[in-house]
Amino acid sequence: MSKPSKPQCFQDLILTLQEYWAGQGCLVLQPYDMEMGAGTFHTATTLRALGPKPWYAAYVQPSRRPKDGRYGENPMRLQHYYQFQAILKPSPPDILERYLGSLEAIGIDTSVHDIRFVEDDWESPTLGAWGLGWEVWCDGMEITQFTYFQQVGGIEVDLVAGEITYGLERLAMYLFDKKSIFDLPFNSPDSEVPLLYRDVFLQNEREQSAYNFEHADTDMLFRHFADAEKECARMIERKLPLPAYEQCIKASHTFNLLDARGVISVTERQSYILRVRDLAKACCEAWLATQVAQVEKVAA
């Protein structure tokens, strides 16, 4: 296989990572078609991390953190951004070497850079999940979050998944030496129509920030939260963990919007997080039951 050339723009970075992880035997999936706070919420990570079946996958996930919106005025913060995620379950013994290979692939030459693994324990209160791992630093900048999943939905995992999450914008700023996300070349600068990140997303940041902070109808959002919570529970009863989990994702994002609107007090905040966690836990348990049942069927 010919080595892909060093990426020249944002989309090259995505394509290179996809090609690299495909070469490592991963499925290359598409983003989950719902609003979520991070790539971890994708069923390909949260649910697939559970159960006895091996699973290798990689995908880009558009991620939304309503509170991080800055109306497009902060060069380093967005309410909508991209994560690239690779998940390898069970984690192979050479997973770190494979990860370092991905850095070489995107043009980070480890003979001139300083790569460091700095302790970072990951925890998602809403997913009831935690793992141990590192922030990976390149010359002092965090370029990746690396986690060995230990628990998801409050359930201890059967096989440990290694989760590798690249913050794409930040990584691209580093690779292309840009001070602002909005200055990143999105497609090739040599294209007939060269476009920057700002051309694609600046207006979106402005409008969505206004929505998140000022205009979102909070009564409606509270209703949506309650509805999603109810629907999730109903689907759990019907033993349909996947539709149930989508309602859980919906509740989680709705909570994030309410939080950004500043209508949830500090004490209530904790109780909302616990409500989402209860949903996630129920979904994970229901999903795990289907997985174990499938494995037992095969064995029988």
Binding site: D139, G140, Y174
Partner: protein, 683 residues
């Protein structure tokens, strides 16, 4: 004599866990060796980010056969005793035991023989047990493993006398066993392939050649020497930071210090902000100019010998630092556009504790306390105390503190100075969390002391009021530290603060007393002496209390003090013994002795000495002349000694004399107890 070399290699171990883990490995293996009857001369453990290593020197090549004797029950003892003896010694019948006459009768003896053998046979078990028992603060599974380690386990070197020990660790699941071997790996980027080692010296040398410095102390030295050289060349001084040095030494196997430059645009941001940002986010060491101010150079320690001499690494670090500082500067600039007073409403939105309301409510309580405390702080300007107390928490809602919570207080001071508030107010805002511990600086300016005391007293009384008191090792709200803070501010500044005036809870004063004892013990003050003074009760003026303690402790160090204490003990013992026999006695001997019944010269002398002491001690105590009070007490010594030499207290045929003498003894006790409760003093 032979050497054991053990290396346990894994993916990157968190820096903060390495030292402890190396010590634990050494301890566990050493304990295992001792339990196996294997003596050794020396054991040393080391850690790098990717390995824990241990070398044990001076082990014997083989263990000799050993025999151990156990004495059992007497011959003819009951059957259950015999059976217990046989079971304990692992014998099946008395045929395997011996009868011996010990001179005190015939006893059963068991002679247990332990087979020796090659040391190498015992070591794998010792290593296996040590690795399984090693306690990581946090550990994990990986792949399909069922065992836990800090991060995935990758390899084990186990050599005894140059030969590989048989053995392996089974991670479980579908995972291949990690077999004991003689190969390791070097630096993650600067070394390729496996390295075969034959013993510790060879191991250290080959690791070094493979760009791994095994000894953390050596890595620290390389970092410091390199950093001093680099900073010296540009006439700046490395700021000493032991905690950061320790951490950085745990992040690198091959430290390469490099010098970077802080962009001039950020040099007007407060030094504390720059320092925290560099230290926390980037693990950069800061440097200072000859005048002590922050210099524009930093030291970063890379874990790589870069092909370009480090140019890319330094530029990368400078770039990341620029982005970080741009963030910090953005907040610093923004924060200064809002006056501290304007931030106060936002404190209503911050919950201090679910049951104790918001930070705004806490600030009100602190302000009320601070002005009340200020009455007892000489030179405290009440208006300034009020202002500082009201503003002391305002920086919690500033941008910089939002990013760097550890800069609370420090930033408030900067914003206050920026607003041109009085310096005493700004300093009080900056100082009010101090002292943060026994070694932290203690506020000494009047306004600062008032607010710092109020901050801590409020925390103590508030948490006390909802029953959140520290228990055992649980002290989530750092109330012991708060009490110690109060004690330090009061004592070190000799403030005459009547503590009890500031709270209702009686047991809070006891809590202070406990903390005071702990703190004073570290300074060589006897806890029983403190108890003797505390027993007087109702003393909430710590300065006065300690003056009395000091006078008493030095008095007890003199001959007069020691003898008087003995006399007191005899008097008190006699009275106590008699009181036990006769429940009505205590009431009958509470009055002063009848002068007419004082027959002997010795008892008259004690009575007049007591009268003299009563006359001189009271004013001395009132004037807080505690050493004077002790001197007055010392006058009792000679008459009391003479009294016990010559006078019989329990005269058989003269109940009137007996009662009067008991009154005299009781009066000795009462008079001395007025100065301190001498019954608390330990011999």
């Amino acid at each position: 004599m032979a050497e054991l070399l053990l290396e346990v290699r894994s993916e990157e171990i968190p820096a903060r866990m390495q030292t402890r883990a190396a010590d634990d490995l050494k301890r566990l293996v050493a304990d295992g060796l001792k339990a196996a009857g294997l003596a050794f001369t020396d054991a040393r453990a080391f850690a790098t980010p990717r390995r824990l290593s241990l070398v044990v020197d001076g082990l014997p090549a083989a263990r000799p056969d050993v025999s151990e004797e156990r004495r059992g029950p007497r011959v003819g003892a009951p059957d259950n005793a015999i059976q217990g003896f046989l079971k304990g010694a692992g014998l099946s019948s008395l045929d395997q035991a011996e009868k011996r006459d010990t001179g005190k009768g015939e006893f059963w003896f068991a002679v247990l023989k332990k087979k020796g053998g090659p040391t190498a046979d015992a070591l794998p078990g010792v290593i296996d047990a040590a690795l399984k028992a090693l306690p990581w603060p946090k550990s994990m599974k990986w792949g399909s493993s069922t065992m836990q380690w800090v991060r995935p386990l990758q390899g084990i070197v186990a050599l005894f006398d140059g030969k590989v020990l048989p053995g392996q660790i089974e991670p479980g699941g579908q995972m291949a066993p990690v077999t004991f071997g003689d190969t390791t790996r070097g630096h993650r980027f600067l070394s390729k392939g496996e390295i075969k080692v034959t013993g510790f010296a060879d191991y250290v040398a080959k690791l070094e050649a493979a760009h791994v410095v095994l000894d953390p102390a050596q890595r620290k030295k390389i970092i410091l020497d390199g950093a001093h050289k680099l900073t010296g060349e540009v006439q700046v001084t490395l700021k000493s930071d032991e905690g950061l040095l320790e951490e950085v030494a745990g992040l690198v196997e091959w430290p390469v210090p490099m010098l970077g430059t802080i962009d001039a645009a950020f040099m007007d941001v407060p030094a504390e902000v720059l320092t925290v940002s560099m230290r926390v986010h980037l693990r950069h060491f800061v440097t200072t100019k000859p005048d002590g101010a922050l210099a524009n150079r930093f030291v970063v320690v890379a874990n790589n010998v870069a092909r370009d001499g480090g140019k890319t690494i330094v530029e990368g670090n400078e770039r990341v630092l620029r982005a970080r500082l741009a963030d910090a500067k953005f907040f610093w600039d923004l924060d200064r556009k809002t006056r501290l007073e304007e931030r106060l409403p936002a404190l209503q939105g911050i919950v201090f504790h679910a049951r104790l309301g918001t930070q705004a409510e806490r600030v009100q309580r602190i302000a009320a306390l601070a002005t009340a405390v200020a009455d007892f702080v000489p030179g405290a300007d009440k208006a300034q105390v009020m202002m500082a107390a009201e503003l002391c928490k305002a920086d919690l809602v500033s941008g910089v503190v939002g990013e760097f919570p550890e800069l609370q207080g420090i930033m408030g001071r900067y914003y206050a100075l920026h607003e041109k508030l009085p310096a005493a107010v700004a300093d009080a805002i900056g100082d009010h969390y101090a002292p943060a511990g026994p070694n932290d600086r203690c506020p000494s300016a009047p306004v600062s002391m008032s607010v710092a005391l109020a901050d801590k007293l409020d925390a103590l009384t508030s948490f006390w009021s909802i029953g959140e008191k520290p228990t055992g090792s649980r002290d989530p709200y750092a109330l012991r530290r708060a009490a110690l803070g109060v004690i330090r501010i009061v004592v070190e500044n000799k403030l005459r603060l009547p503590l009890a005036r500031f709270f209702k809870e009686a047991d809070l004063l006891d809590f202070f007393a406990e903390r005071l004892k702990v703190q004073m013990r570290d300074k060589g003050v006897r806890h029983d002496v403190i108890d003797a003074v505390l027993a007087l009760g109702n003393e909430d003026d710590l300065v006065r209390l300690l003056a009395r303690v000091e006078a008493l402790q030095s008095f007890l160090g003199t001959d007069a003090g020691k003898n008087l204490l003995t006399g007191y003990g005899r008097a008190a013992n006699i009275v106590r013994a008699e009181e036990r026999k006769d429940k009505t006695l205590a009431a009958r001997i509470a009055s002063v002795p009848d002068v007419a019944l004082l027959e002997l010269a010795e008892e008259k002398a004690v009575a007049s000495a007591l009268a003299e002491v009563e006359r001189t001690v009271k004013p001395a105590l009132q004037q807080e002349n505690f050493s004077g009070a002790m001197q007055a007490l010392a006058e009792l010594r000679a008459p009391i000694d003479a009294f016990f030499d010559k006078v019989t207290v329990n005269v058989q045929d003269r109940p009137d004399l007996r009662l009067n003498r008991l009154k005299l003894l009781n009066q000795i006790r009462a008079t001395m107890d007025g100065v301190a409760d001498f019954s608390k003093i330990e011999g």
